[in-house]
């Protein structure tokens, strides 16, 4: 049995934790750089505000501040969701965090408990959501079912219908069929929009249409590993291993620049920072990456300017999570694809081929144990300092901007991102803690 815990309108709910006056009011959170709407409260959704709406259009439609707008504050969201996930971890035998706002519990340890306990799983879920709300002020929904795909579906029902009291348990086969029947195929976890279109063309509209096809039909017609797996899961056969979900397969750090970037130095510096961020994320989840990839792009909306897009990647002999090594690799990639004479609007670093840090298969030509140990210790020190004194307190030389007269160089990176409506980091910076009279 699995439970999925999912924060409701996560970013908006985080913003409300220290602003309880905003409960019941329309609130949106903007993307990095205040570009467009990325998160909406239910009230904002009810006003017809769509995800992805550019901020300037939002302003045009609602000129009188009817809607409370926030820049993204990932530091706050990270801390609040960490609290939520920590409470879930304490309440379940096994827990895997899947993303910033959701995680899975494997409740199989609980299956062996007496039947009376088993049937009270719904109550376990309801009590947990109530406690999480009380302790952290984060509204969460819980879905419980025999497979992860069904649990995800259950969590949708828990979110959609108040009657479930934040927890939906698909327990009997009858409940499973009913849930599948009302569920559109494109909403099923693991079925992408494009794949859903293909299934719809075959006359499959709901999850039940899909699940009731025979095993042989699915194999013969679809011949797709993910589709077959999803078909099994919908039929109550548990077949997605936890390990497939606990760690992300690739990590991307990318940004649109507030203005446009034309020179190699500025671009290289930004990319160094993105690469450093990727390395930090890898270390946080105790992983290493094999491939580093860099992309750069011009502004497609500026048809008056010449357009250029390119991508370069480099495969490392030994997977790594070292800031120094990933930054160097990303820099080499950048140098390969940079072309003079273009106005760059967006760039990013993606690290791929992620595996657990413990199991590095050392390539014997490249692997230098002593150097590896040194870099590891350097990164540990880096992480420790940046955790204690704020991110980017210490950076590599290549991460620094060389603007003349620039103060606190690391700040230049942060300041270059637009965030006009950012809330305080109430729980992670002494300077930002709430004040009470």
């Amino acid at each position: 049995m699995y439970a999925i815990i999912d924060c409701d309108n996560c970013y908006v709910s985080c913003e409300r934790v220290f602003r309880p006056d905003l409960n019941g009011k329309p609130v949106v959170v903007l993307s990095n750089n205040d570009g467009c709407v990325v998160a909406r409260s239910n009230e904002a959704k009810a006003l017809g505000i769509k995800a992805g709406l550019p901020y300037y259009q939002l302003k045009e439609r609602f000129p009188n501040n009817e809607i409370t707008v926030f820049s993204s504050n990932y530091e706050l969201y990270g801390d609040i969701t960490d609290r939520v996930m920590s409470l879930v971890r304490k309440a379940a035998p096994t827990f895997y965090r899947y993303s910033i706002d959701e995680g899975f519990c494997d409740l199989s340890g609980m299956d062996s408990f007496p039947a009376a306990f088993h049937s009270s799983l719904k109550k376990w879920g309801e009590d947990l959501t109530a406690y999480i709300w009380k302790a952290t002020r984060m509204p969460v929904s819980i879905g419980i079912a025999s497979t992860k795909t069904l649990a995800k579906m259950a969590s949708h029902y828990a979110k959609k219908y108040k009657g479930y009291n934040h927890c939906c348990f698909i327990e009997t086969d009858e409940q499973r069929i009913k849930a599948l029947e009302k569920y559109e195929i494109e909403e099923v976890w693991g079925i992408g929009r494009r794949y859903a279109a293909r299934l719809q063309a075959l006359g499959i509209k709901t999850a039940l249409d899909f699940a009731s096809h025979a095993d042989t039909w699915v194999r013969a017609t679809l011949n797709n590993v993910v589709a077959i797996r999803t078909w099994k899961e919908l039929n109550g056969i548990d077949c997605i291993p936890m390990e497939d979900m606990s760690k992300r397969k690739s990590i991307c750090t990318s940004r649109s620049f507030p203005g446009m970037v034309t020179d190699m130095d500025a671009l290289r510096t930004s990319i160094s920072n993105f690469a450093a961020r990727c390395a930090e994320k890898l270390r946080k989840q105790e992983s290493v990456a094999q491939t580093v990839s860099v992309f750069i792009d011009t502004n497609h909306f500026r048809e008056d300017l010449p357009q250029y897009w390119n991508m370069a990647e480099e495969r490392l002999l030994t997977p790594t999570n070292s800031t120094q090594q990933i930054v160097q690799t990303a820099t080499r990639c950048t140098e390969r694809i940079f072309r003079q004479g273009y106005h760059y609007k967006r760039a990013g670093v993606i690290v791929m081929g992620i595996s657990p840090a413990g199991s590095i298969q050392t390539n014997f030509i490249d692997y230098d144990a002593e150097r590896h140990e040194k870099m590891k210790r350097l990164d540990e020190a880096l992480d420790k300092i940046n955790r204690e004194y704020g991110s980017e307190t210490i950076v590599l030389g290549s991460q620094q901007y060389t603007k003349p007269g620039g103060k606190g160089k690391a700040d230049v990176f942060k300041d270059s991102i637009k965030h006009d409506f950012r809330s305080p980091c109430y729980t992670t910076r002494w300077s930002d803690i709430p004040e009470a009279t």
Binding site: A51, Y74, G78, A135, I251, T253, R387, T428, A436, T437
Partner: protein, 152 residues
């Protein structure tokens, strides 16, 4: 996953990871020969362990003003507030009242008359009366107060 872009660039410190002040409970002897007290050594004391009972539910609040000096809460003090604690009459609470945060003692003795009172601990201040027309949300119980006393 419309609203849930993968986490991008979030650095944070959980209360559990936060820098902990470890006070040495037992001073080790100089190196050279084994300490006869080695068997009696304890883990060092940890302020978080003593004061943060529910890390996920706790947060810091800075006191502004003189309204609670009678209970030893001075301007600039840092209080720890815990949202998971049960609240009852007489507790020091953090409350969101009509748009602002306040720290006061909760007085529910007037509940039957249809209002509550938030009591200051300073004769120069008046109680705050809370009735059905007020926006009033309790944000936790104050569980400890912290002050750097080096300035004295």
């Amino acid at each position: 996953m419309k609203d849930n872009k993968p986490m991008d660039g979030a650095e944070y410190i959980t209360l559990e990871d936060a820098k902990r002040l470890k006070l040495p409970y037992f001073e080790g002897l100089a190196a050279g020969f084994p300490s006869p007290a080695g068997d009696y050594q304890h883990e060092s004391l940890d302020l978080n362990e003593k004061f943060v009972h529910h890390p996920e539910a706790s947060y810091f609040v800075r006191i502004r003003g003189e309204s609670m000096v009678g209970l030893g809460l001075f301007d600039g003090d840092i209080c720890l507030a815990d949202r998971s604690e049960e609240i009852s009459d007489g507790n020091i609470v953090v409350a969101f009242v009509n748009g602002g945060l306040t720290v006061k003692t909760l007085d529910t003795s007037t509940k039957d008359q249809g209002y509550l009172r938030l009591m200051p601990a300073n004769p120069d201040f008046k109680p705050i009366i809370i009735d059905a027309n007020d926006q009033f949300i309790i944000q936790g119980k104050v569980t400890s107060v912290h002050r750097d006393t080096r300035k004295y």
